[in-house]
């Protein structure tokens, strides 16, 4: 009984799927999927190498500070960084006084502990980066996690920042309807090719690095990306260090375990 019912159910599924397959194959053969501008002109991010890459990678503190400077002077006008606290900046090599000064320049809206009133006050080291008010087109995402929230995120951010260009004439010829809209900007590294963010890094020397590094557009973009890799996971270095110790111990224990296993089974042939 079970087998007969199963056979019927099996035959039903087989027929339905065979039919769907044939119809799908026919459609695919007769009506090739239409091309879109995104399919033809979208570019995958260019490879990017950062000091924090790879198992042995370490953050370059100097670079993180430069990247933080770019964030503050350029990106912070529109993008928040809400998961990061000012105190976290100690990891970039700032001392207590410097962190206090950085936090103090921010305005934080908080309850006054004495009156219970919600008021603006200067930030402290314990505060997180405050929300950013933005009034333009589009919704600038919070940047704390951006390099983890996109496929191949670090390379993506870097490519996007340096990838703005005029819309190719070829594209308009092929897809006349795909003209970049008003207030949007063409960038082949963005999924639908047009984004609301105007090119934020426009020219060499847009920020003045205190360590003398030349602030080319590519340099600024790489630095701010390195910084955003850190904001996405400040515990990255700790994780890898712990990993080496822990896995080293595990390998040692496994080898011992294997030897005792061999020892115990020695007189049982076949293993």
């Amino acid at each position: 009984m079970i087998r007969i019912l199963s056979l019927l159910v099996g035959a039903f599924f087989t027929v339905v799927l065979g039919y769907s397959f044939v119809r799908g194959a026919y459609t695919a053969a007769t009506e090739p999927a239409a091309l879109t501008a995104e399919k033809v002109f979208y570019k995958k991010p260019e490879p990017l190498h950062l000091p924090s890459d790879g198992m042995f990678g370490k953050f370059d503190r100097q670079q993180l500070q430069r990247g933080f400077q770019v964030y503050q002077e350029v990106c912070a006008a529109c993008h928040s960084l809400k998961h990061v606290a000012f105190r976290d900046l100690a990891a970039l090599g700032y001392n207590e006084a410097e962190i206090k000064a950085i936090a103090g320049k921010a305005t934080v809206s908080a309850k006054d502990p004495l009156t219970g009133e919600v008021k603006d006050r200067p930030g402290t080291a314990a505060d997180k980066f405050p929300p950013v008010v933005y009034a333009g087109l589009g919704v600038p995402p919070d940047l704390s996690l951006i390099t983890k929230a996109r496929p191949n995120g670090a390379a993506y951010v870097h490519s996007l920042l340096i990838g703005y260009q005029a819309q190719p004439a070829e594209l308009l010829k092929q897809f006349p309807d795909a003209k970049t809209g008003d207030g949007l900007h063409y960038n082949p590294y963005f999924k639908n090719l047009n984004l609301a963010m105007a090119p934020p890094l426009t020219g060499e020397g847009q920020v003045t690095y205190s360590d003398g590094t030349k602030a080319t557009v590519d340099q600024m973009s790489t630095d701010v990306t390195a910084f955003l890799v850190w904001t996405a996971e400040p515990t990255l270095e700790h994780r890898r260090q712990t990993g080496f110790w822990w896995i080293g111990f595990l390998i040692f224990a496994t080898v011992l375990g294997y030897m005792s296993y061999r020892n115990i089974w020695a007189e049982k042939k076949g293993h």
Partner: protein, 426 residues
Amino acid sequence: MSYPWANEYKPSHPAMVWLDERLPLPRLIYGAVGGGYEVPRNLNYFWNFGFLAGLCLMIQIVTGVVLAMHYAPNTLVAFDSTEHIMRDVNWGWLMRYAHANGASAFFVVVYIHIFRGFYFGSYKAPREMIWLLGVVIFLLMMATAFMGYVLPWGQMSFWGAQVITGLFGAIPLVGEPIQHWLLGGFAPDNAALNRFFSLHFLLPFVILGVVILHIWALHIPGSSNPTGVEVKSESDTVPFHPYYTAKDGWTVGLFMVIYSTVVFFAPNMLGHPDNYIPANPMSTPALIVPEWYFWPFYAILRAFTFDFFFIPAKLMGVLAMFAAILIWFLLPWLDRSPVRSANYRPLYRKFFYALVVAMVVLFWCGGAHAEEPYIMLSQLATLYYFAHFLIIVPIVSSIERPDPLPYSITESVLGPPTALESAAKA
């Protein structure tokens, strides 16, 4: 079961004697996973995965309980509380990554465990109950993992919950009310998040309970083995401890090395970047996919693209997806071959490998965009999947001529007895 030659528990320390008379817990353990449990001597490494699955369950429970101390199941703060765990809780990043990747490790191990069963016919009499309980565990695992993925309340959490509960909406008449009842609203929101958290905390302990039944059922006939020939005499078995504690023990180490490498060096490899974007009901992701371990079943769901007379495609997809697992319950009765191990079933073995290929194709298609050629490929693979269990297995098992089996487990390990040994025995 204990074979007549199994060691008996003999406590020597007076305290243990005292305890044994009042609560024979050590006796239970000795008989279950100690020197008192006799196990076939010829188990290969595929028999280690049950133990590893138990380890995974323990890892999930321990890391999960710690995470629950810091997580807040409220749509306003769930995402932020997860990031709080990652950044501000001591070793919080380790707990979270160990838990998220622990789920993946659990499924890797359990998929191997299940396919071991397909190959070696572990589901056959007298082990049907072990198998049936196993399928129940697998269903519970899927429910638990699905609800866990919703908790961080990222984009994939939200849209995954929307899509999966939406599947119930395909059921005629009662579908939508069921979906709304499951969610506690018209779309995933606070009510859904809260109940998913509650159930996600509860279900692992239900799984633990069923695992105990699973192992109890296992101990009635004892483990099968790669030959599928039942234990005949004392020389066929060895005591679980120290033989299999040592074997399971070192593979625990090996498993931990591989798992830890992912946790410490590539913890986001198996996750989807979109889940680092907070849930946004106003913005649908370009591609909504579940976690990788659901991909085969997701591919089956999406393989049904045409209405069949009066049955809508979506409904068939949903039915097929559930049926894909539910038919495992029938397997002990669909496969009539008295020979367990595919080592001695040349014809079945070929179809087993075809099933593995179909499964790999389904994995691959389930994670891809719903476009050609993935849809056609998943249709072919789904077709094979159902034909395999419902048509091929019953037919093959009645027409196949199996290869000769070894006389006993001992013989399969040591070779046939020499003339001298046989004479000595006689």
